[in-house]
């Protein structure tokens, strides 16, 4: 699986943020080539986490209010949430290895520690 499910409505965004645990939101726009290249990296990290990390993508142009709220100034921007609270963000392309390190460094908890990917 190298694609992310898209949050197409504000309701879906709210539901994703309301769910407990770690969530990566891949904020992109359609015309962004690097956004297309980072998506499979994010998706692979989520799949390999065995459920420890959820990931979705969100079109910044279709969710202007969300983009303003989270001060999205460029894409791709990745937002890392834990239990609905923003704990970290990063912009630009990242490899899957770099993403695992980023998530691991920012979200060490019991669930993540049990994951096969807590190697950072």
């Amino acid at each position: 699986m190298a694609t992310l499910s898209e949050l197409t409505s504000a309701e879906r965004v709210d539901a994703a943020l309301a769910a407990p645990g770690l969530l990566v939101l891949d904020v992109y726009v359609q015309s962004c080539i690097i956004c297309r290249r980072i998506e499979p990296m994010v998706a692979a990290v989520a799949v390999a986490s065995g459920g420890a990390v959820r990931a979705h993508k969100l079109d910044a142009e279709r969710h202007a209010e969300f983009a303003a709220k989270y001060d999205i100034r460029g894409v791709p921007t990745l937002l890392l949430f834990r239990d609905g609270r923003l704990i970290s963000r990063r912009s630009g392309f990242s490899t899957a290895t770099a993403l695992r390190g980023w998530i691991g460094a920012n979200a060490r908890d019991e669930a993540w520690g049990r994951s096969d990917y807590a190697r950072t």
């Binding site: 692979a44 490899t95 899957a96 290895t97």
Partner: protein, 206 residues
């Protein structure tokens, strides 16, 4: 073969994949050269497509042979990287081809899955090749994101200028083949056995 990104299997290639027995002229000369190097009947659909422009087909096949036969990095590394690139490029045919080649280079099923998940730490590569794998993916994602610190880290792992060029050319080769296959709807070869889906069954190919 069907896969998660393939067009409908009934959609034919968008270019004439001239069978070996019908090839003439410069195309036949190229096919003959491929069969001499790879064995009878082993002209892949990718190169049947390329052979619409025989000189480019020959040049690209030679490029591949140089990369695979004259490089110093392991074939396992290069096939793992091409598998990962094919996954990133959503090319089912290419994933199947390179995943099978990766298996034949000695990788386990788990290591192939790790390549598909862009995780060099689980592929059984050397420290240098792990670093080069991530460098390649970063260069592919955004070449201008590479900074001096990335290169310094590669140097500490023992990477030479040759290694950098060999790695980047592996990226270029993988991407160009993925593009040809995707844009021309080139499907799998009938002389190879491929994996099915994403790893539940792997078959040995030549």
């Amino acid at each position: 073969m069907t896969g998660q990104w393939s067009r409908d299997a009934s959609t034919p290639p968008f270019i004439d994949l001239v069978p070996i027995e019908q090839a003439t002229g410069a195309r036949k000369e190229f096919y003959d050269e491929m069969e001499r190097l790879r064995g009878s009947g082993r002209v892949s659909n990718l190169f049947k497509a390329y052979a619409a422009f025989p000189a480019l087909a020959k040049a690209n096949f030679q490029r591949l042979m140089v990369l695979l036969n004259q490089g110093t990095l392991s074939v396992k590394f290069k096939e793992a990287l091409m598998t990962a690139l094919a996954e990133a490029n959503k090319c089912d045919y290419c994933v199947s081809f390179h995943a099978t080649a990766l298996r034949n280079a000695g990788a386990s099923d788990e290591e192939v899955v790790a390549a598909l998940e862009f995780d060099p730490d689980r592929i059984g590569l050397s420290g240098k090749e792990k670093a080069l794998f991530n460098y390649a993916l970063k260069a592919n994602g955004d070449p201008h994101s590479i900074v001096a610190a990335d290169i310094e880290e590669l140097r500490r792992k023992g990477a030479s200028d040759w290694d950098l060029i060999e790695t980047l050319e592996t990226v270029n080769t993988g991407n160009s083949f993925n593009l040809i296959n995707g844009a021309l709807n080139v499907g799998p070869d009938d002389f190879l056995n491929y994996m099915k889906g994403r790893g539940e069954l792997w078959k040995k190919s030549a």
